[in-house]
Amino acid sequence: MQPEVTLHLSVTEGRVAVLARQLCAAPGGVSNWEHVEQAPPDPIIGVTDAWRADPDPRKLNLGVGAYRTEEGKPYVLRAVREAETQMLADPASNHEYLPISGNADFCRLSRTLALGAGSAALQEGRVATVQALSGTGALRVGAEFLAQHLPASNPRVVYLPSPTWGNHKTIFAKAGFQVREYRYFDKASRGLDFGGMTADLSSAPPGAVLLLHACAHNPTGVDPSPEQWASLLQTTHDRQLLPFFDSAYQGFASGDLDADAASLRLFAASGMELVLAQSFAKNMGLYGERAGALSVVCRSKAVATRVESQLKLVIRPMYSNPPMHGAAIAARVMGDPRLNAMWKEELKGMADRIKAMRSALYRELTARNAPGDWSFVLKQIGMFSFTGMTRPQCELLVKKWHIHLTLDGRISMAGLSAATAPYLAEAIVDVVTSA
């Protein structure tokens, strides 16, 4: 039985707050929650809201972080539909609680997908894996685990690329990490500021956590080259940083699951410990089913066993055990050779369409003599492109052209089609020349 612990907080501020509430609160009249302020709107979700509300027929939603077909529709993979149909027809299926660590088949298949069947870490049984609430949930559980269990001598500091997915900062901060940024996006080239990145990481305190996007960096689309990854591995090793990979686009970036895992596998093959947050939201189109996994690659099997037991202690007071449906679908898709092959084909199809949109946009921009070098559109990888457009230029895109995007200049290629690429190109040329 777990020991009972009561926490005694040093609470001058707390007592004053309680007193204030006592004085202000009037049961049955004024709310106890008067002091609660309106939270700021989420910038990304706000884009879709604005798009929905826009009556203009030419409107484009380039804020969406979800794949869209050429017709602009959400896409449920055939492999997923089939898996779901099989599950419903299976007399053995039920809705019982999963273990705290989730669906064991899903965990096993997920980490094999990421690390590769030939991974020494896997063969040696030194990977602790738990099912998680997609990427966000994996990051949060991972961050909480690290905050609690890194040695006391390790600083609770995490290095995030500048820029990064907005929620990274929130998640790590909630877990008690101090967040620092490393240079990443180079505005001038719209590429990687590799020198800045290496310099910043080379001065990081030993033992700090280093967040890396495994591929298809969000929001910039800028990834290190294989040579740069090798150099980063060296830097990571030298500074004794703990790599924490966010893998949300495996297979989605190049269309090849193994190629997209190269960076992660390079680091794992070196023998170093690392943390991995995996999401199946995009590459399996399971968005709302929240299918993900958190893995901790450890130095030994014994350590991995203990780490897994502690991951469960983080999870139990968070949500007890994870939702079964999405993971069951994913396990079926990964585990069934026919569905697996179907999935790979569809995944390649999605990645190819994104690439085609990049080509189309570049073509249309070139045809319109867009000022400057727009080749970054072709070089950047994955769903997103950091266009380098200024805030006023973006605002003009929204107001004048009814093209909705986040004001940092990020556009989602997934929201584009062959038919709308010319319109976007025209709009971009207009705003960069006038605003």
């Binding site: 809705h95 019982e96 929620n167 929130t170 023998g271 350590v303 007071p317 055990n321």
Partner: protein, 438 residues
């Protein structure tokens, strides 16, 4: 951390930007940064099922986790759930992200179920609701909200309570204390002790109350006692936080089982509620639930919702779709809803029946002891009187498990949902043996 690198690799550690193909450094003879991580003990509740599964005894009986079993001791998928799933799949909907606050149809349904459709608080827009990860997830969002917006507040938990409550608040650094609740002598409610402890709680404290079918004791306040507790909360400005995991499962009637939270709202109190559809819809592993705040003020409710969303975003971004779609389908379809009510009555009825049979068997085998608590207690669980508190140091529970292969939690709780008529006699013998001889 000791590492050894080959000399050629070491020489490549340079500041210049010309990167040649570097051979990945091989780490040799290094220790883990997680070397000092200790093995965590198995979960006191979920660990019981693990132990049960591992047992090879032909007589083994799992009375650990609160998951409903049918008369054959098999998991049950409700008929309405199967029908709802078929409908949903037939519609070939997409799997897009839900909004952070969850599926609208589900949010509406869950509040209607809690307060009653058309309740003034709903119509006046004074209810903030986020779909969340069943009871635990909803409690966690609520706990995070309290940590942020009621700094310094203490949460009062019944003694005993569901073990995970402590950790849910503890992990958000919210201080908690016990209020007296279970009276081991009467095997009932220590109402006097409860009222004393809550009266002594500082104003602005939070009181965690089980809406019905208290877990683990099965002991609920009477209607009059609920009224007194509500009045006390008003008087002392205590925030009631209801854990509603068994609505419809306690008496078989959804409205009767919502009596307590509805009474509090009627008395003008602002309340927080964590709802779960694990048991009443049998959706356990789908993680369907909601965190609800009923406030006095519409604008405050809007602001609170925005903050709940912010907390959810940092935990899981948006909740899982599948289970919420099922729940919404069942509640919003008249036929399915009626059928569901029937299925709930069936489940609650079976539990009531095995309670009766167990009491009869125990009365016959050990007439000197008062076993009436078995049928007085409400819901899935029974506090058997095998608790360590009865100076047995856990020996009785150990006896149940080691000698009789009856798996239960160490606090003496058994889940009647895991019992059937065929095993009543066996269980009664095990209990009597443990009480007498352990």
């Amino acid at each position: 951390m000791q590492t050894a690198l080959g000399p050629s690799t070491a020489s490549r550690v340079v500041a210049n930007r010309q990167v040649r193909t570097a051979r990945a450094p091989q780490v040799v003879a290094a220790s883990s940064r997680f070397a000092d991580v200790a093995q965590a003990p198995p979960d006191p509740i979920l660990g019981v099922s693990e132990a049960f599964r591992a047992s090879t005894s032909p007589n083994k009986l799992n009375l650990g986790v609160g998951a409903y079993r049918d008369e054959d001791l098999k998991p049950v998928v409700l008929s309405v759930v199967k029908k709802a799933e078929t409908k949903i799949v037939g519609r070939a909907e997409n799997k897009e992200y839900l909004p952070i606050e969850g599926l609208d149809a589900f949010r509406k349904a869950t509040v209607d179920l809690l307060l009653g459709a058309g309740h003034p608080a709903i119509q006046e827009g004074r209810v903030a609701v986020v779909q969340s990860l069943s009871g635990t997830g909803s409690l966690r969002v609520g706990s995070a909200f309290i940590a942020r917006f009621m700094k310094g507040a203490t949460v009062y938990l019944s003694n005993p309570t569901w073990g995970n409550h402590r950790n849910i608040f503890g992990d958000e650094n919210v201080e908690w204390k016990y209020y007296r609740y279970f009276d081991a002598d009467t095997v009932g409610l220590d109402f006097k002790g409860m009222m004393e402890d809550l009266t002594a709680a500082p104003a602005g404290s939070v009181v965690l109350l089980h809406g019905c079918a208290h877990n683990p004791t099965g002991v609920d306040p009477t209607a009059e006692q609920w009224g007194a507790i509500a009045d006390l909360c008003k008087e002392r400005n205590l925030l009631p936080f209801f854990d509603v995991a068994y609505q419809g499962f306690a008496t078989g009637d959804l409205d009767k089982d919502a009596f307590a939270p509805r009474l509090f709202v009627e008395r003008g109190l602002e309340i927080v509620v964590a709802q779960s559809y694990s048991k009443n819809l049998g959706l356990y592993g789908e993680r369907v639930g909601a965190l609800v705040m009923v406030l006095n003020d519409k604008e405050a409710a809007t602001r609170c919702l925005s903050q709940l969303k912010r907390l959810a975003r940092a935990l899981y971004s948006n909740p899982p779709t599948w289970g919420a779609k099922i729940a919404a389908e069942v509640v919003n379809d008249k036929e399915l809803f009626d059928e569901w009510k029937g299925e709930m009555r069936g489940m609650a009825g079976r539990i009531e029946r095995v309670r009766g049979e167990l009491k009869t068997a125990l009365d016959a085998k050990y007439p000197d002891k008062d076993w009436s608590f078995i049928t007085r207690q409400i819901g899935m669980f029974s506090f058997t009187g095998l608790t360590p508190a009865q100076a047995s140091g856990g020996r009785r529970v150990d006896n149940m498990t080691n000698k009789h292969a009856v798996y239960m939690t160490r606090d003496g709780r058994i889940s009647l949902a895991g019992l059937n008529s065929a095993k009543v006699d066996y269980l009664a013998n095990a209990i009597v043996d443990s009480v007498r001889n352990a």
